[in-house]
């Protein structure tokens, strides 16, 4: 095949504007309007790439998105796009491209080597060859990757911008071929909101190839008229370069609109792609069909191409792919293609597998009359040539459809394949539709339509121009009518020759086994041949899904758009079953490869997961704080002084709290404001302990259980008024707890008069903690008596903090005297700074979550989610005293279930290692054995919290241990990852001040 530009103008070309580009290291010139494929074809290039398994030379096979072979790496660096299909790349000035499969160089003629190797690479070759020894895979892999690699993934960050947009419409028409245009016109004329999405840059689909006239005009002229009319409709939006790649439930479809890829790099600005999220009232699918290749020997030789693609290149781009063309055909569209190729100056022969002389007036007869040689009843057997096609061997069929008759060798420099058409039922399949095989039409076509959906034109296996227009117009009008508009279908006057039924041809029945014949390819990208499919079946794979996976058929970037139907038919042939008994392929999104950028949209970097910061965040940053992510919150972790590491800083912070005073920013704790006459009753239901009689001015700690009786949150709740409470939750559990309360009130107790609202962000909370805490807050707070008598532990008071109204709670998560000052967040930073200033003379030390953890662990206070894991009851925690015996509450009944009440459950205990400085790893497994034993080693629990306690000068740990409360004083062992077994003594988890004297100071 040597392509050349013909003088006749291609429809899409602007011959006044030349475009320079590079391909495989060489400079080329094309015209504005070219695709990369058409420009390279016009330059006469033949071998463009290598196939991935056998490294056979490959060229361009198609003129569309189904292209399996001609893949390129487009551009370099951050802008690189791997595996771009040459026919879908619109040419622009300065374009750079490399074949995705250039090894060995496509230009080198290593054909003979490839052909020798072919028998060595059967289906499942890699599975069979590289399985043993398993360790050697890493070694093999380097070579396989090099041999098989497609395009290279980008190594630099994608600098392009992507955006997503939601949109609603009455009617979404997918595809702007003649059927889609007819649908859009009928719906749009009614005033309905219509979106017409077309994956290419141009409307009209295959109109340039169609024979016949619409209302007396050629189809192309009608398309131009339709385009003009649609442009006038205010409620109709055309999305060009917009591929509908997913059809999801309830008519939710996703469109990737490409905005800048067709422009030279320097001219690109703004968003590269827009992902439209469409909710459509009605969907009209007019996605067309993909031409089916024909399976014969060496059908991958450069010069073999889809028949329609040859016609497309001639009509659209003025490129003649050969001067002596043979089209192997099973259907009538070949004749229209042949006439266009003849008009482009080629000599054309159509080899039709269907028998019988063409009747006058039919398409074959018209072609003959035009000067096209027509050979009926012959099937293609073998393409000849080494690096390019030199001829096609065809054989005449006998009356039993056996290719046993006369053999002819037809010299040619290009072979067209017109094996029939595969309706593009992908989107119909995404939507849940079940395709069915139609023996008459020889293809899969849509079964019953899904709700509010229609398939029209070629994707509905409707081949004629007139019927496609009628279907489209009818569906468009019906869709608009459904949406409440007045719409009527248009009656089109179409004059076209009748279309004869497609023939059934899958491979020449020469009687010779497929394994002995030259390779006949089914999947061009993954090098799956007809004999591979037969071999898979011989080896016991019967389901089409297994055959696909074993042979890799349909697993390439084209997802089997070209080859899958041939593959299924050949599988059916090998099994002696009808095609519909072999099974259908369920297509899933995405229809085409979609960039990750389009899915991410603007949610990248800082916007990916917004950070929540407390009001005093800037002050923490200024103090050199390091932060820890807790949920979305940035929580102060520790405040290192110059030269300090984590442990030194935490030890200093802990000792400051125990010895004098520290301050913790506790603003991230969840806060829920609960109001209403039944507020106390609600708390009584969701907490294990009683709440009805809590006095105003008091706080109480509560444990919240799920209905399984397991602890799922805890926190202190203050009674602000008779009907008003402020609940605090864990930082990570705030949303979950609010949801839990709302759910019960709405679904189970709708009569309860109670209202709740999250106020986490509204209040900032600073805990001033330590023996000197009273002295510090005294300097800042006014309007409150802070004496122990007037303001005892577990009370709360209103006050003014540095001029700001505040609620002060005397609660503690450290075991020290502590005042938690709650102020409106707007004034949070001001109050934090005032407290720091007031505390200077006492050496006030800001501390973070790490010191907080040590302080609470020294006191044996739990952290829900660390010391509990959804399988720990209040009794397991040794907190049975908090469980009311006189009221019902959520989870209560589960506490007496046989499993929840059994004695040897894992229970929370303290652990003191024999080796005092050794800090056990959290998660360490615990066992009664003192040294390693053969597995399975009986484990009795694990460490949940473990720290070095500067207060005690030794390590401490909390753990859940089977029957732990009965093991006090026992020695158990922790099995460490390095193989050591470390001895520890079970003890109370309260390591410090067990009487709680310091709290009440």
């Amino acid at each position: 095949m040597t392509g050349s530009r013909i003088d006749k103008a291609g429809i899409r070309l602007d011959r006044k504007r030349t475009v320079n580009f590079r391909f495989n290291g060489r400079s080329y010139q094309g015209f504005a309007g070219d695709t990369l494929a058409s420009a390279v074809l016009a330059a006469g290039d033949t071998v463009l790439s290598r196939s991935w398994k056998y490294h056979r030379p490959r060229a361009i096979l198609t003129c569309g998105v189904e292209e399996p072979a001609a893949l390129v790496q487009l551009e370099l660096g951050a802008a690189t796009i791997p595996n771009a299909k040459m026919p879908e790349v619109e040419l622009y000035e300065g374009l750079q491209s490399e074949s995705a499969l250039p090894w060995p160089s496509p230009a080198k003629h290593l054909l003979s080597i490839n052909r020798w190797f072919t028998p060595l690479f059967p289906a499942g070759f890699y599975y069979k060859t590289f399985m043993w020894p398993a360790k050697a895979w890493m070694w093999y892999e380097r070579f396989i990757r090099k041999a098989g690699g497609l395009g290279a993934a980008p190594t630099e960050e994608d600098e392009s911008l992507y955006v997503q947009q939601n949109i609603h419409c009455d009617v979404l028409v997918v595809g702007a071929g003649v059927a889609g245009l007819a649908a859009a016109l009928a719906a749009g004329r009614s005033g309905a909101r219509v979106i017409l999405a077309e994956l290419g840059a141009h409307l009209g689909g295959s109109a340039h190839r169609l024979q016949g006239t619409i209302n007396g005009k050629p189809a192309r002229a009608w398309v131009a008229d339709a385009q003009r009319e649609l442009a006038q409709m205010p409620e109709l939006r055309i999305i060009r370069r917009g591929v509908v790649f997913g059809y999801h439930d309830h008519n939710f479809l996703t469109i990737r609109e490409s905005l800048t890829d067709h422009l030279p790099l320097a001219e690109r600005s703004g968003f590269r792609e827009r992902l439209w999220r469409v909710r459509a009232g009605q969907v009209v699918l007019a996605t067309g069909a993909h031409e089916r290749p024909m399976v014969f020997g060496n059908n991958d030789l450069p010069g073999v191409m889809l028949s329609s693609a040859m016609a497309d290149y001639a009509e659209l781009y003025g490129v003649r792919v050969g001067s002596q063309i043979v089209i192997a055909s099973s259907c009538d569209s070949a004749y229209a293609d042949a006439r266009l190729l003849l008009a482009a100056g080629a000599t054309v022969t159509v080899v039709d597998t269907r028998v019988g002389e063409p009747a006058p007036g039919c398409r074959a007869h018209q072609a003959q009359a035009d000067g096209i040689t027509v050979l009926r009843g012959f099937v293609p057997v073998l393409a000849e040539g080494s690096a390019a096609v030199t001829g096609l061997v065809v054989r005449q069929m006998d009356k039993d459809n056996k290719a046993s008759g006369e053999s002819r060798e037809l010299p040619c420099d290009a072979i067209g394949m017109a094996g029939g058409w595969n309706p593009a039922i992908h989107l119909y399949s995404h939507s849940g539709g079940k395709a069915r095989w139609d023996d008459e039409l020889v293809c899969f076509k849509p079964g019953p339509a899904m709700p509010q959906q229609a398939s029209v034109g070629a994707c509905n296996a409707t081949w004629s121009l007139g019927s496609s227009l009628d279907e489209g117009s009818l569906a468009g009008a019906a869709a608009a009518t459904w949406a409440g508009f007045e719409a009527r279908p248009e009656a089109y006057a179409v004059d076209e020759p009748a279309i004869k039924a497609t023939g059934t041809f899958w491979i020449a029945e020469t009687g010779e086994p497929l394994s002995r014949r030259p390779k006949a390819f089914v999947d061009y990208q993954n090098d799956v041949s007809a004999s591979d499919i037969e071999l898979a079946i011989r080896e016991g794979f019967e389901s089409i899904e297994h055959i696909k996976r074993y042979t890799a058929m349909g697993f390439g970037t084209d997802q089997g758009k070209l080859g899958n139907i041939n593959g299924m038919a050949l599988a059916a042939r090998a099994m002696g079953k009808p095609i519909d008994k072999v099974g259908t392929t369920t297509f899933r999104p995405n229809y085409l490869p979609i960039s990750f950028g389009a899915f991410a949209g603007l949610e990248r970097g800082e916007l990916f997961d917004p950070a929540r910061k407390s009001s005093a965040h800037d002050a923490h940053v200024a103090a050199g704080c390091l932060f820890e992510d807790v949920g979305q919150w940035k929580r102060p972790w520790y405040f290192p002084k110059p030269g300090e590491d984590l442990h030194q800083a935490v030890n200093r912070e802990v000792m400051a709290v125990r010895g004098s005073v520290g301050m913790l920013d506790a603003s991230t704790l969840g806060k829920i404001d609960i109001q209403g006459p039944d507020a106390a009753k609600l708390l009584n239901w969701v907490y294990t302990n009683p709440w009805l009689k809590l006095e105003v001015g008091k706080c109480r700690y509560g444990l919240m259980l799920d209905e399984n009786g397991m602890v799922f949150d805890d926190g202190v709740t203050a009674r602000l008024g008779e009907n008003h409470f402020l609940m605090t939750t864990t930082t990570g559990g705030a949303a979950r707890v609010l949801g839990w309360l709302e759910r019960w009130v709405q679904t189970e107790w709708p009569d309860m008069q109670v209202y709740m609202s999250s106020v986490t962000d509204h209040w900032s909370t600073f805990a001033v903690v330590g023996p000197q805490s009273r002295a510090v807050v005294q300097k800042v707070l006014t309007g409150v008596d802070l004496s122990n008598e007037a303001f005892a532990f577990m009370g709360w008071r209103t006050a003014t903090a540095a001029g700001v109204p505040a609620r002060v709670m005397r609660i503690s998560f450290s075991g020290e005297m502590s005042f938690e000052i709650n102020v409106p967040s707007n004034a949070g930073k001001h109050v934090w700074n005032a407290l720091m200033e007031a505390g200077k003379e006492f050496g006030i030390t800001p501390y973070g979550t790490e010191a907080m953890h040590v302080l609470r662990a020294e006191k044996g206070y739990i952290i829900v989610g660390q010391d509990t894991d959804g399988s720990i009851s209040p009794y397991d925690l040794g907190m049975g005293g908090m469980v009311s015996k006189t009221k019902d509450f959520l989870g209560r009944r589960s506490l007496t279930r046989s499993d929840t009440a059994k004695a040897d459950r894992k229970q929370l205990v303290g652990l003191l290692t024999d080796e005092e400085k050794l800090v056990l790893p959290e998660g360490a497994q615990l066992t009664e054995l003192s040294q390693a034993a053969p597995p399975p080693v009986p484990m009795i629990g694990h460490v949940t919290s473990s720290y070095f306690s500067p207060t005690l000068g030794r390590s401490i740990a909390m753990a859940v241990v089977r029957g732990g409360q009965r093991r006090m004083g026992q020695k158990i062992h922790a099995a460490l990852a390095d193989g050591r077994y470390v001895a520890a003594t079970v003890c109370s988890p309260v390591f410090y001040d067990p009487q709680g004297k310091r709290l009440h100071a």
Binding site: K681, K693, C699, Y701, E742, F793, M882, R893, R897, S898
Partner: protein
């Protein structure tokens, strides 16, 4: 992406909602009267039918209201949406299963206050 009609807000995208599983499972009023198996049935046993299913939905990213829906678990088609406490149209749901708002206030218990551990630990 399902299209879900919140009885208060109208049709909205699925991403605004969370599913709360099977509807019409009332919390037993007298939990002490149940043996472990009966309590276990309430806690764990769900129908998981193929076809018609009544389920709870929460407009969690919207008005934060709960409601019920009848949905076909095969076709994903919604047949109806209704508020808590309402009966689905044209279908009989097991009588013991509809307790939303129809029972006497089951939460009206008294505060005995005998085991007040609040404050022992904070």
């Amino acid at each position: 992406m399902l299209l879900i009609t919140c009885p208060w807000c109208g049709p909205r995208a699925e991403s605004e909602f969370s599913c709360g599983g099977e509807a019409h499972i009332a919390r037993p009023l007298d939990t002490d009267a149940l043996d472990d198996k009966q309590w276990g049935d309430y806690l764990f046993m769900r129908k998981n039918p193929k076809g018609q299913h009544f389920e709870q939905w929460h407009h969690s990213q919207g008005c934060r209201r709960w409601f019920n829906a009848e949905r076909d678990t095969v076709s994903y088609r919604f047949k109806q949406f209704y508020k808590p406490g309402e009966q689905p149209q044209g279908v009989a749901v097991a009588s013991d299963a509809v307790a939303d708002g129809t029972s006497d206030t089951p939460w009206a218990t008294t505060d005995a206050g005998s085991v007040d551990a609040g404050g022992s630990k904070a």
